[in-house]
Symmetry: D3
Subunit: 332 residues, 6 copies
């Protein structure tokens, strides 16, 4: 799909069904009064972060603004500061007023996620992170979450829809469900190895039935060189993955002749725990991260009208007229 | 739309595009091995809360399970405890395994929001709350947010799509944008009064250009008995709405002969601030709430396979076999 | 009045009426015993600060000590350290023992205030501060408070008595009372402008009836170049003055052609809030400060006898004999 | 002196020298405009406490108000709540406007002290407290401090001026200075006993040269039945008075046949330390308190005009018109 | 061994080698001066706790005091309060002065341990606790630690010497060392079962090589009814034993037909963790506790001379003469 | 006694009476099975510290290991890191397995004490520290405590047994008991001076009956040049020794002509209080320390089998095979 295509707005958004109803009322009143002033609206975030959602917001504006409209903004993935103007729209108000809710919501969700992803990526200091938090958000928006995680710096994500939006192939290992169906980790991994495209990495999940160190050696012996890595995902009931466990599994794999087998860590991983793994020198080759990104709050954005028909104006608390920001580029 | 219709899954969900890819791989492996065991899967939350999303999850399962499948669960809007089983599915695994991501995501998002809404509603002690947080989340999911807020106890919500899902009419007042276009609050309110269906309540926003107390009296004088209420939404730059401001506006409205005009408070309202308003006896007639609900984390849910072909099983950390829960009802 | 005159002790002090009665008893006992030993007494503070009250203490000692007495001390306004000797008196004990209470009290009150003023002045980094806290202390001592605030670095103070003590003209703007009597800010400011000596700065108080930004523009339009500045004094019920409000009023005044109008901020200002204004770059031209100075505790001073008739002595806990302090200068 | 006489305002107050200059300007403007509206002014505190200073405020108003003026208030020493109206004045504004600074200052200082005294008294649960904090404040106001301490519940105070204001005899023991002049505690106490009116209690200070327990026995043996008590005032350098010290001195006095000798404790005593003495059952017969009262902040009071010529009015943040308070009594 | 025999002092203690040398000097000085006053010495603890060590202290005094000596005290294992006299000795000072160090040390160590044990026992609410902390203290004193743990309420202890002192048989399970020597848990347990007296309970340690749940089932299957229980001792590197693990092992044992197999928990157990296990309803049948008892500080005891030759005396800070304590019983 | 002799194990340790009984069982099982594998055992601490007890542990191993055994370790008194291997034993397991309890206990107790002593010594920055905490631990282990304190850096200790172990003469001053027997400090000190070997320093305890400053001068006048120093040991009931007291006693001794008399401080001294004395420049010549060392927890040590018959092995949570540590030296 072309990038344009990827970010097209849905019919529900275009029709105004997702707008706060008072914007629909406002459009009706202005139309009844025969008023359609050219206004300048500015959008800014409530805290520092990584801007995400601009491609989607622009795709929407491109569809609804008349020729006379103009849009300026920062680029997708740029860092932004609290209260910095990241988007400026100048157009007749009836053309876009009802989309304020949608535009703010797109930026809020996606920037919140991209910012959280960046915090994980920064903590990991070069160790790649795969995002697999789709299970923590509604499926109608999970692809946006995965896309934003990649914008924030994640190396991969888990759903086909999210990966498509991000321009990647989806990443995955083996779920507990497969192992439970086979009632044995080695049997499940061997079946995976038989049937799945050899281009897909073999990463065995090793905490389902046995101690992780024991199971790691069993799967390494079963798959040999075809095993790319093991994933440690120890449940909270067993104390989660510890840095010492990674050290030990690494040592036991090396001692048994499997130095090529990598170690991926998942299960409640977040920036603090990443930092703890690194502080103790745990030889982690990759992290899988879910709720550390999905659980963060959206970054609230605000839209302010700063000019009406060329006249500087603002509500109380804001400074009338456009806010200077040399970083803004003309987009539409 | 019938309730059934309201909660139908989207094509993307049905097709598996929003599934974690390892579930798709698992289905492929089992099919290749000719294995399709009947499994019992249980779903439980990671913290206490209000269960929401069950109608949508059941609508999905109703489409994909074979006749032999069975589903038990708690009802939409029920309180649930940490680690309590709220949904149990027994069916051939290939039929539903790929929907684990979607089902967990639906419950996670909507239960998180409903639980946050309930905290606001409990704090408000009978004062109605209108939810208008659509602007804080992506528009593809904002109707779910609004629906969940209503399940949690909110009296209304702001978008047509959300209200439709919740079976209500959308609620709204007047945005700052309308007032800025008219460059005066009274003129904007009068235009609203001219053109909008008289069945819609006239609630004037009174912080745009002037002090709230002064503006409240101006709009009350302009609309008289047709004015239902005023909305105080003082920006943070002006110190937000304080309990004392509500007391003063109430007193000034009463002194000027407008005891019928109600006072709605919005702007950064959350359970703590609601409690503060109530502790100081502020005469609030309604709260408008946004990010206090949208900013909360999803409630993570976990799905566990507990039986395979009638045999109790579980991964490490979990107890094999179905978990007794007398509250569960047979649904499908 | 000559400086000497300004700091003369009152009759009540001289008569011993304000002395702790046990000092009066001590004088009576020593007289009855025919004992009047030459003692050396030292005075030191309980914490670091700015020394204030020395002029008044010296004026008292100058009246009561015989020719044989001698006094050493630090100068008014000097910084002093915890437990540093700031005053040393050597004289026959009957001549000055009863004034211990008064001398300690003078230094305690005035040094406490001067120290607090210095903290404000240091926080303000060059922005002038006017003290107007007379309303927070008893009128019999308010001039001392104002004098001490000026010793601590304030640029002005508000009462004629305090200003006289400090050698300044009193400073003032316009009270809420005047505006309430005129029932309109602009009318009150115009009356002030008509009747008050043109040498007095016109500083309009702009929070009485209307939003501060709106009222600032009204008074600027009414007085034009004669307006020296506006004072923002937003009450706590309206969220106090915020840095954003100063920014906005500055911008709106500039946009309306009144860049010459200065902005003075008052209302609960203290060093922390001054720091916050400066950290956010708020364009404040002056602060008005009241309780941040008047509310601080006095700095307790202690007087110790360290020699009796040339013999080193001290009570338990103190080291006998005079304490070396090279900073002390002979004063009397 | 008659009570009236005791609280008469000073000439400096009456002349307006202690008024904030903008009130003097206001009077000048109103006079120039020929305006002298009857206004209602209300005074309220910023926190809960004990009201003190009313007698003095009323004495001032009695001198300056015309016959047509009226005053309502709470009585001296009454408890008051945050923001409760404690004083209401209705009179032509020119008659009393310039006294706002003085009236607020009187109430602020004295109520602050009385409230702090009450906290000590409440902590002491019936053990009498003598106030001797004159040394911590300027002598021009120390009598007000002592008066306020007695209004707050103290049983005595130390300066003749303060005691006169409070209608008591001044209380005192023996200062360290007397003992240092005699170079021995027993000799000093014996001299006291020789020369001071037998009606005055003999209370020996016992920490000057020797351990308190040893010195207590020495003075008890020297004065026998004439000794009323000992005062423990251990300096911080010796660890202050501890509850165990009181227990031990009590035991040693009793064992030596001096059960009649009482124990007074001083030195950094405040409500927390009083509570600690009582929690450990220390047999204290009296506390001497200084800076625990003098160091507290004044209670800021605010004066609001709520009516002008019978018309309800108020500045922003306050409710127009008189505030109902059934506790107010007509005073003038 | 008779109880008397068990607590006899060692030759080093009797000879004074373990006394602080200044007590030896004191004996020498008194002897040289021909002075041997009868003194009353009292001993009290610095905090609340369980008194332990009295039997040993009394056994020492019984050997060294002359006929004329007398001893009063509380009984072994009694609760005691901070500063309560628990031991009183009246005898010629030369006879026992040099044993002050030893007596205080005995009481300090053993009371500290008994008090810590009681805290564990109280937390466990009836679940038996076995003490095995000998490895955390020097072997010359480990039997005293074990004895004190039993006095504090522990149901058993691990060393022959400690058990003998406490009048019990030593308790033990299986160390990791045995399993490592056999390189398999089941083989080690079977060897234990072959060679150890059948009267000794078979308690298998199940965390050495495999996941605890898996290993529990293996040993249960191997020993059947002869298996008394399993011990969970998960190392910190694997997240320690969690309440959930106990629940799961219980469930899996029950499901496999081994409801008779009990579960013992060890590894960093202390009162807080015991409380957490109980709060989550974990079905624990016994706790093994080590450092939670051995790591606590001794309870410092103080010895005071309160009478010399019948004359009440005391050092500064203490009250002369014996302290009344109705709980004291005559012992010698 | 030769150093070897000093650290010989007791018969109880050699006989296994102080071993956890499961090690005795293990030896019995291995013997019955005819198994005596050569194992490598490693010992490491649970936190950073000063290693102490190695001489005693090695003396034990030297007695029990066969010729084929080998031992590596760090030296007594070396700093060690958390989890660093400090002792490695390779020998047939039956020869030494039962001594694991004793070896760990020796290292735990003594390293804990040495580490605490080092913290005091580091805080004191060169001011010598005498240890006298024997009274806080059982006399069977007090010599070990004193030895460990000296290993940690203390300059002396108080019991003959402890001093012998440390290769020193015991240090002591004068106990309160001696002074109480003489009922006067000066008389007691004079008796000490008459009868005790002149080689022993005369250090007078000066807080028993009188204020410390007063008593210091009395003993200085009594003994003159023969007085080496005074010890301040003010009880908590008198506020403990303060830095100001040391300053004052120093000044008063100097003023009275006794600059040669040193000042030793004791009573609740620990690293924090040492730091406070030094921060205030208190002229302390020595500290006496007791519970600051005796109250610390042992440092738990762990012993792990890492090889069996040349095969790398380890329990879960540990890495199989010997742990590299270049600091280890061959000892046996």
């Amino acid at each position: 799909m072309s990038e344009n295509g990827r970010f097209l707005p849905s019919e529900r958004v275009l029709s105004g069904q997702t707008a706060d109803v008072y914007f629909l009322n406002t459009r009706q009143i202005l139309a009844a009064e025969g008023s359609n002033p050219v206004v300048t609206m500015e959008v800014f975030p409530s805290r520092d972060g990584i801007l995400c959602g601009m491609k989607e917001a622009i795709a929407l504006l491109a569809q609804v603004l008349p020729e006379t409209g103009a849009v300026w903004g920062l680029a997708e993935g740029e860092p932004m500061s609290r209260r910095e103007v990241v988007l400026r729209i100048r157009a007749p108000y009836q053309a876009f007023g009802i989309y304020e809710t949608a535009i703010l919501g797109i930026l809020a969700s996606e920037s919140g996620w991209a910012t959280a992803a960046r915090a994980c990526v920064d903590a990991a200091g070069g160790i790649p992170i795969i995002h697999f938090g789709a299970r923590h958000v509604h499926p109608d928006v999970s692809a946006r979450l995965e896309y934003a995680a990649v914008v924030g710096g994640c190396a991969g994500c888990a759903t086909p829809a999210g990966a498509a939006l991000a321009g990647l192939e989806p990443s995955g290992t083996i779920p507990h469900a497969l192992i439970l169906c086979f009632e044995d980790t080695v049997r499940a991994v061997e079946a995976f190895d038989r049937h799945i495209d050899p281009a897909v990495r073999r990463i065995a999940l090793v905490d389902t039935f046995k101690d992780e160190a024991e199971e790691s050696l069993r799967v390494a012996r079963a798959l040999g060189d075809r095993l790319w890595g093991v994933r440690l995902d120890t449940p909270a009931e067993r104390g989660r993955v510890t840095p010492e466990l990674v050290h030990e599994v690494r040592a036991r794999l090396d001692q048994a002749g499997f130095p090529h087998v990598k170690i991926v860590v998942s299960g409640g991983v977040d920036p603090d725990r990443i930092a703890a793994f690194r502080a103790q020198g745990a030889p982690v080759d990759g992290f899988g991260i879910g709720s550390a990104i999905s659980r963060v709050s959206p970054i609230d954005f605000t839209a302010d009208i700063k000019e009406v028909e060329g006249q500087a104006i603002a509500k109380r608390g804001r400074i009338p007229g456009p806010t200077p920001n040399a970083r803004l580029e003309r987009i539409l």
